[in-house]
């Protein structure tokens, strides 16, 4: 019970209710985020239907290895995040497990960004940035890479925010400012992390696989 009183916030009187509200709130926010990425992907789809060949050619220029490794990295981070959230719900003595999982999650997130950085470097070297001196001839290919930079950039920003949130959690839990047990912030952060992960699951085939099938 003392844990709960440390976690109780205005204007709530009842901790269970507060938790529910936090979860509910983040779900509403995630619905909003879904439309954010949804609009982006819909635009991508419309353009791809208009320029199927150019998109296929451009897709073949992406480096599928970076993409695949990053998919694995991100999925693993989702696992550790889920373990952290579950452990926090189970018992107070699992605090160290929660902390360890959160730290691994943040590291994996960071690794994703670093790998993405290498990939960006390669793309720049291969002149895959739209504008003068672009490597491919078809106009639609520039469009593909326009989306590529935009979508992966927006995803990376979301992921960075996620890393920030997880790091903050590690900090407050480590300093015992807030208990880990039943801490709703872990749950809410986890939901956000999974969203970023799911968005990538959509991006991966859209970016790396066009033109590679058959």
């Amino acid at each position: 019970m003392s844990d709960e009183s440390a976690l109780l916030r205005e204007p709530w009187i009842d901790f269970g209710r507060q938790r529910e509200a936090g979860k509910f709130g983040i779900w509403v926010f995630l619905a909003s985020e879904t439309l954010f990425f949804g609009a982006l992907l819909l635009t991508y789809t419309a353009c791809r239907i208009e320029h199927p060949d150019a998109f296929a050619a451009a897709g073949r220029e992406t480096n599928v290895w970076y993409g695949t490794i990053n998919t694995a990295v991100l999925l693993t981070s989702s696992l550790t995040m889920a373990v952290a959230a579950q452990a926090a719900e189970e018992a107070a003595r699992l605090r160290r497990l929660v902390l360890a999982c959160l730290i691994i999650t943040a590291m994996l997130g960071l690794a994703f960004i670093v790998i993405k950085g290498f990939e960006y470097k390669e793309d720049i070297d291969k002149h895959l940035v739209p504008g003068a001196g672009f490597a491919l001839p078809q106009p639609g290919a520039q469009l593909f890479y326009g989306f590529y930079w935009l979508v992966t950039g927006v995803h990376a920003i979301h992921l960075s925010i996620g890393i920030g949130l997880v790091s903050r959690l590690i900090w407050v839990l480590y300093r015992r400012e807030l208990p880990a047990k039943d801490n709703p912030e872990i749950e809410v952060t986890a939901l956000y992390w999974h969203l970023v992960d799911i968005v990538w699951i959509f991006l991966y085939p859209l970016i790396y696989l066009p033109g590679r099938a058959s």
């Binding site: 204007p11 509200a21 709130g25 439309l35 520039q142």
Partner: protein, 557 residues
């Protein structure tokens, strides 16, 4: 478990009230009290309103003469763009939701605050930051794209501060999403015992429906602006046809947000009016359930009509037909609302106090605007009047005649609750009538000018249109005066107005059961609700016996 909340009672009387509870600047700027945040928003949007108003004053002066006597065409373009951008995103979208919504939503459902008070404050800071970007865009040299930022002009050709302005709108969008999330969670999670969904005041329903639109439509606006920014700043070719892009794509994305956004502006207005009409007609609102369903229907169908902004853009004729049809459909729930307000007035004991005058003004102007919207939804008529002053008149009737009148209606209705003061009623009535007259003087001539072919956004025009423009500009002067008057007498009332009682209008609704102004945590004890809203025939609420002025006098502490 949840019953602990339901049964929980707050500590006994908290004095002083929320206004006097701390008076340092810090106590305001770091507050998490939804009522104080509402005041912060009110001050902010008032400033924006007058900035947008100043810009359009110059425009209207320019249009006095057919030949462009005052401004260069460049300045002219920047002024009307600034007017549109500020009025839509920094005044209309946040106006009623962020002021009255913030102030009243928790009070009306019997809650001590919104679900996420710190997020609430954060969203105000986002609004301020966004406003700073946009105002920077103005002082640094202006933007000439119009409030719609149409590509490829905005993304490739305009030589102005599009980035700063678009970034401002992008950020204020996030403020809007945060507010929406907060309000939805509050409505779901913090209702007092007995406050079932179908006992919610219609204003709460309106704010709830609005929040749904905010959460689901605004991200699409964010994307469309992001694409413009990406094309301008990083040269990504999204809208550039020469590199495979598609300029019409922007319009689809933009209007997918911006059509629902007109309901962000008008649904809250409908909510305000639905509170005021029953109170001053002393009758239960007619067809409560239908009012709720109509609002939800408007919020939902609003997502499927965006194409009526693009009849002339080259979209397929089939698409145009479908959008035209759907636009007629959405008129149905709007009409239901107007009929129900009218039916609520029928055989009511109507008293024409100032909030009621403003509210009736809303019904008249909204109806005119809505009917002209049906003209625009008919493809042949639309092709004739697209991009003329007919359109300008239409959306001003809805947004200014509708939303702004309702804003003033709400301001006068809840002013005693918010400030604890009464204002001079005769001045208020005078301003309400002046506003109605000035409004029609300004915008009615624009219907004619537009129908006869005067295009919008031009700063010169054939001399035959001068008569309409002179009428319109003269009306704008009257309207401006009508907007300034409340600033005067309401400010006066803060210092010299009589003290307001709990419930000066004899209204139903939880917000009237707490003191005026309310204490920091809203209620001295957790309220309980045991009846339907607008119960104007219940005991102690009988019609006619207590004219509101009498109650003012009697209940004054």
């Amino acid at each position: 478990m949840t019953d602990a909340l339901l049964a929980g009672e707050l500590p006994l009387p908290q004095r002083p009230d929320y206004l006097r509870h701390g008076s340092t600047i810090r106590s305001w700027l770091a507050t998490t009290d939804h009522k104080r945040i509402a005041i912060l928003y009110a001050v902010t949007i008032t400033i924006f309103f007058f900035m947008g108003g100043a810009a359009i004053t110059a425009v209207r002066l320019e249009l006095f003469q057919p030949n462009g006597w005052l401004l260069t065409s460049d300045t002219y373009n920047k002024l009307f763009s600034f007017h549109g951008i500020i009025m839509v995103w920094f005044f209309l979208v946040p106006s009623i939701p962020n002021t009255f919504g913030n102030f009243l939503l928790p009070l009306m459902i019997g809650a001590p605050d919104v679900a996420f008070p710190r997020l609430n404050l954060f969203s105000w800071y986002l609004t301020i930051a966004a406003g700073a970007f946009t105002v920077y865009a103005l002082v640094a040299g202006g933007v000439d794209t119009g409030w719609t930022f149409y590509t490829p002009y905005s993304s490739m050709f305009s030589n102005t501060h599009v980035f700063a302005a678009a970034a401002g709108v992008f950020v204020v969008g996030f403020a809007s999403i945060a507010t929406g999330v907060n309000f939805i969670a509050t409505t779901h999670m913090l209702r007092a015992p007995g406050m079932t969904w179908f006992r919610l005041p219609l204003f709460v329903w309106a704010i709830y429906a609005t929040s749904l639109i905010m959460v689901l439509a605004t991200p699409v606006l964010a994307i469309s602006l992001l694409l413009v920014i990406a094309e301008r700043v990083f040269g990504l070719p999204i809208f550039d046809p020469a590199r495979g892009g598609d300029p019409i794509l922007f319009q689809h994305l933009f209007w997918f947000y911006s059509h629902p956004a007109v309901y962000i502006m008008v649904l809250p207005a409908m909510g305000v009016v639905s509170e005021i009409i029953p109170c001053f007609a002393r009758r239960r609102i007619f067809g409560y359930d239908f009012m709720v369903y109509a609002m939800l229907a408007i919020a939902g169908i609003g997502f499927f009509v965006w194409g009526h902004h693009m009849f002339v853009s080259g979209q397929s004729p089939l698409a145009s037909l479908v959008f035209s049809f759907l636009s007629f459909i959405i008129a149905v729930p709007s009409a239901i609302k107007v009929f129900n307000w009218t039916a609520s007035l029928y055989r009511g004991q109507i008293s024409f106090d100032s909030p009621m005058l403003y509210a009736l003004g809303f019904v008249g102007l909204f109806t005119t605007g809505g009917l002209s919207g049906l003209f625009l939804a008919s493809i042949p008529v639309d092709i004739h009047v697209t991009d003329t002053y007919f359109v300008v008149a239409h959306f001003h009737y809805i947004m200014v005649g509708g939303s702004v009148s309702a804003f003033f209606a709400g301001l006068h209705f809840w002013w005693p609750k918010v400030t604890g003061r009464l204002y001079p009623e005769s001045w208020a009535k005078f301003a309400a009538i002046l506003m109605y007259a000035g409004f029609n003087m300004t915008f009615l001539p624009q219907f004619f000018a537009g129908y006869l072919g005067m295009p919008r956004r031009y700063h010169t025009y054939p001399a035959e249109f001068q008569i309409y423009n002179v009428m319109s500009s003269a009306g704008a002067a009257v309207l401006a005066l009508a907007y300034l008057l409340p600033l005067g007498y309401l400010t006066w009332s803060l210092f010299y107005g009589g003290k307001a009682a709990r419930n000066p209008w004899g209204a139903t609704g939880l917000e009237w059961t707490t003191s005026s102004p309310p204490p920091p945590k809203n209620f001295d004890r957790q309220p309980r609700v045991d009846r339907a809203p607008y119960d104007y025939h219940a005991e102690g609420m009988s019609a006619g016996t207590d004219p509101p002025e009498m109650q003012n006098a009697r209940e004054t502490r």
